[in-house]
């Protein structure tokens, strides 16, 4: 083969097999035709069929019994703070420093009492207190991984109840919070399974319904859908491949040549499936970024100021992506953000004082941005973590526990209320704790937490068993009866669309 033939052939091959890196210009034309530069009006946004779930993972295991704290001091029999302080010892926050929640209406769950009536939250979470008191934030008390309800220690020990694998183990529990299938190490993620069902409602196939600021994660991994990972610097210049240096002669042409070669290299079919896995990832990443890059050119200016912390920047990026949802052809989006560093076996007080303000400020800014976009009631943010921690101290720190407390925030959340059942802080005669260290059997399952949001998001009751394989152990849908009751379903039509996916079992 002489050189000219070779160029001809490889050139044709490149054109035939790859369009990935060369779709930029045509996409620009399509999106240009769509026109509008700024936010749609709030009226338009209100009428829009759009919903997003934002999962904020606190990896490491947040000590959420210093996030939500009972404050009663023997008023009307509620001695919550004193029980808390006695048990937590050197970890206890002072009662005067806690930010009081207005009438938190904690009523208990599944025949488990809430135990206390008065609650406050960590002193460095004032914006979360405000969101709670204005009805935009709800707490889930003692929520965690369960295969089926376990009501007390004797049921736990009976051998008759299915117990989650690897209670207390970071790797197991952080995974189970994302899969909601505590009996398996092979399950898909909740967000991934939701997207399996609903992804076809989004009009583009290049950029996933599931967008991650935290890289690869199980939560967003489904059977057919996986995450699209982005960095938090959402700017066209930081997305995709850099060009070859400008000082190279014919730099643009050489860059095209390079890109065509990359397309050809990752466009081959490889018998070795590790190689094929890389090649496939490369193709979809390249495919997605060319589309994504065009869309984010349309990000409008926002007045909401986000903190410059990593969590603030990640949530700012989520807001920016949401702002160009129409260019991404997205009616439904699930975001994943990870803010770690919570494994505070030591220096718990200092650690929480350092990290909780970051959470407070970032979640507040994000909520404000959803208001600014006119989408507050279409976006629901929730926090998850590996596990709660021991309520007893190991000497200025706490160890791995089980059930903990989560926050759910948004305009469609029936906030200002503590759902679930806060465990008794006095460990003597406590039937919820499974060890002398104070580790609580969750009152509420992750299944119930997710089921409520899935129904709101548009999963039909018939499909819940695909999203949450254990849901039948906790809940079955009847009109007007919701798993926990923290979402406002007014204006939401429960989907009757039964997708082809059948129930999953593990």
């Amino acid at each position: 083969m002489n050189r000219r033939d070779f160029i001809k052939q490889s050139g044709c091959a490149a054109m035939g097999t790859t369009t990935l890196l060369s779709t930029l210009t045509s996409l620009g034309a399509v999106n240009g035709a769509l026109g509008h530069k700024n936010f749609p009006s709030k009226e338009a946004a209100a009428a829009e069929d759009y919903k997003a779930l934002v999962c904020v993972l606190f990896s490491g295991g947040l000590d959420s019994y210093n996030l939500l704290v009972p404050t009663g001091t023997n008023d009307g029999g509620d001695n919550g703070y004193n029980e808390y302080a006695n048990t937590r010892g050197d970890l206890a926050l002072t009662n005067g420093s806690l930010l009081p929640l207005t009438n938190p209406q904690c009523t208990g769950f599944r025949n488990l009492p809430c135990n206390y009536g008065a609650f406050g939250i960590h002193p460095l979470m004032p914006s979360m207190r405000d969101l709670f008191n204005t009805g935009k934030l709800a707490f889930m008390a003692n929520v965690g991984t369960l295969v089926e309800p376990i009501m007390n220690l004797s049921e736990f020990k009976s051998g008759l109840k299915k117990i989650p694998d690897g209670i207390y183990s970071h790797s197991d529990q952080i995974m189970q919070w994302q899969t909601s299938v505590p009996q398996s190490r092979r399950a898909l993620g909740v967000g991934g399974r939701i997207a399996d069902l609903l992804n076809s409602g989004n009009s583009n196939s290049q950029v996933s319904m599931n967008i991650s600021l935290g890289g690869k994660n199980i939560f967003q991994t489904g059977e057919s859908v996986t995450e699209y990972s982005i960095g938090n610097n959402v700017s066209p210049s930081t997305v995709g491949l850099e060009t070859l240096p400008a000082w190279w002669s014919s730099s643009g042409l050489m860059t095209d040549l390079r890109n065509a070669a990359i397309d050809s290299l990752v466009g081959q079919t490889y018998a070795n499936l590790l190689q094929q896995t890389f090649a496939g990832s490369a193709r979809s990443a390249i495919d997605a970024y060319t589309f994504f890059k065009e869309a984010i050119k349309k990000v409008p200016a926002m007045t909401t100021q986000f903190p410059t912390t990593s969590l603030g920047a990640d949530l700012a990026a989520v807001a920016k992506v949401i702002s160009v949802r129409s260019y991404l052809g997205a009616k439904r989006q699930i975001f994943f953000v990870n803010y770690g560093g919570w494994d505070m076996h030591d220096n718990l007080a200092g650690g929480l004082n350092q990290r909780l303000p970051v959470v407070n400020n970032a979640l507040k800014a994000f909520y404000d941005s959803t208001v600014e976009m006119g989408l507050a009631d279409k976006i629901t943010t929730f926090t998850i973590s590996d596990f709660g921690r021991t309520v007893t101290s190991n000497g200025l720190g706490s160890d791995h526990g089980w059930g903990g407390n989560s926050m759910v925030i948004g305009g469609s959340v029936k906030g200002g209320k503590i759902y679930g059942a806060f465990p008794r802080m006095n460990l003597t005669d406590n039937t919820q704790t499974i060890s002398f260290r104070g580790n609580f059997i969750p009152a509420v399952s992750t299944d119930e937490l997710y089921a409520e949001m899935a129904l709101w998001y548009g999963v039909s009751p018939a499909d819940l068993c695909y999203v949450l394989p254990n849901i039948d152990n906790f809940y079955s849908y009847t009109p007007g009866n919701y798993p926990i009751g923290f979402m406002n379903f007014n204006g939401t039509t429960i989907s009757t669309d039964n997708k082809p996916q059948s129930c999953l079992t593990y």
């Binding site: 070779f6 160029i7 490889s10 048990t87 010892g89 050197d90 694998d165 690897g166 183990s169 970071h170 790797s171 197991d172 092979r186 991650s212 890289g215 690869k216 996986t226 699209y228 990972s229 960095g231 995709g240 491949l241 850099e242 070859l244 002669s249 014919s250 050489m254 040549l257 390079r258 070669a261 990359i262 290299l265 990752v266 081959q268 490889y270 018998a271 070795n272 590790l274 190689q275 094929q276 896995t277 890389f278 090649a279 496939g280 990832s281 490369a282 979809s284 990443a285 390249i286 970024y289 770690g340 076996h345 030591d346 007893t392 101290s393 190991n394 000497g395 160890d399 499974i434 060890s435």
Partner: protein, 419 residues
Amino acid sequence: MAVYLTYMNNRATNVEKQTFPDENYAREIMQLFSIGLFQLNLDGTEKKDGAGKSIPTYNNDDIANLAKVFTGLSWGDSKYLGDFVKDYWSYTKKLKFYPIDSSDAYLRDWLPPSSWVIVNGHEVGPKTFLGSTIPTRSVQQGELDIKDALDILYNHPNVGPFIGRRLIQRLVTSNPSPAYIQRVATVFNNNGSGVRGDLKAVVRAVLLDPEARDCCNNGDTQFAGAFKEPFIRYTNLVKGLNLTASGGVFRNVMRRAYDKMGQIPMYSPSVFNFFAPDYMPDGAMKGTGKYGPEFQTLNSQTLTGYLNALNSWIIVDDVIEYTTYFSGETYKPQQEPGFILTADYPLTRNDRLPQLLDKYNLILAHGRLSQKTLDIIKGALLQMPISVTNGVPNADDASRRVRLAIYLIMVTPDYLINK
């Protein structure tokens, strides 16, 4: 480790204060560093109970008991249990064992000694875990508890297959056969001379195993090899191309490696490392039940990030980052290394490109690039300008061809899957 996994200044149970020994290290030394979560057969497969379920190696009582062992340790240059770190050198000193917690004498030294609360620093009493019991001994002898505990862990039958599988995954392949793991674990258990835990023999067994030497993993080409973790690719480039600095000094904060690829040494997000041994990737391997640990580092962001990092390193020749590693030090030009590739320039002529590609195929991919891959790269290089005078290529043209050749090689799945 004592700071990282928080057993520094860990104290015995104090009923009055309602504090208990820190469980962090007790848990992770078992889960991550020695035996893992489930009982293993010699070949690395999990033992099953009558109901077909995996059998946990320990429960929370084991953790609470082992936690009692790691009590009473503080900095080597500390004055009492609970003392703070003195300076960086403290990290270089062996921990000091404090049977007694006399911190009150230091922290409340204005009080009469009779009012100091002096308690045991190390927890006394028997400690039962993994079915073995560390005997009761005096608190002064408590440091021997640690030795006993480590011996119990070390002699657990899981250690051989647990460590063996991890070493094989790092050094050879993500999916070793059970027989391969068993051969390595057997050597761990006994190096042939009755010695357990001879790691030199273990590494030899890993690398010289037929499954490692056979290019095609006993014919199982579909799942052979391992995805090169991001930082290994960077070191491949730096070592393979013999990065040189005229001053002989190399300093590198490696920030770009982290920002672009999500990995630099010593910065793993948690004690669980950058990726898990049991990670199963999406895509072509999904549903096969096969592992690809390093794929946990790969996503759309780190994928293009890697290509852009390569662009900086090999195309732009900006290989290291030397910014503010030590405060007050100024930048020294001779400490900026670069790749000197002039020896390759003669190989950039059209007729010699196969030799150029052969060379880097050998250096970077130990000859694993397929003919098709080589053809694609050669096809791209041939389209780059080269002006040749008296048989000698123009230096700029030649440099660019060499650099793009290396860039493209390092993008290929043939290179990225180490076999």
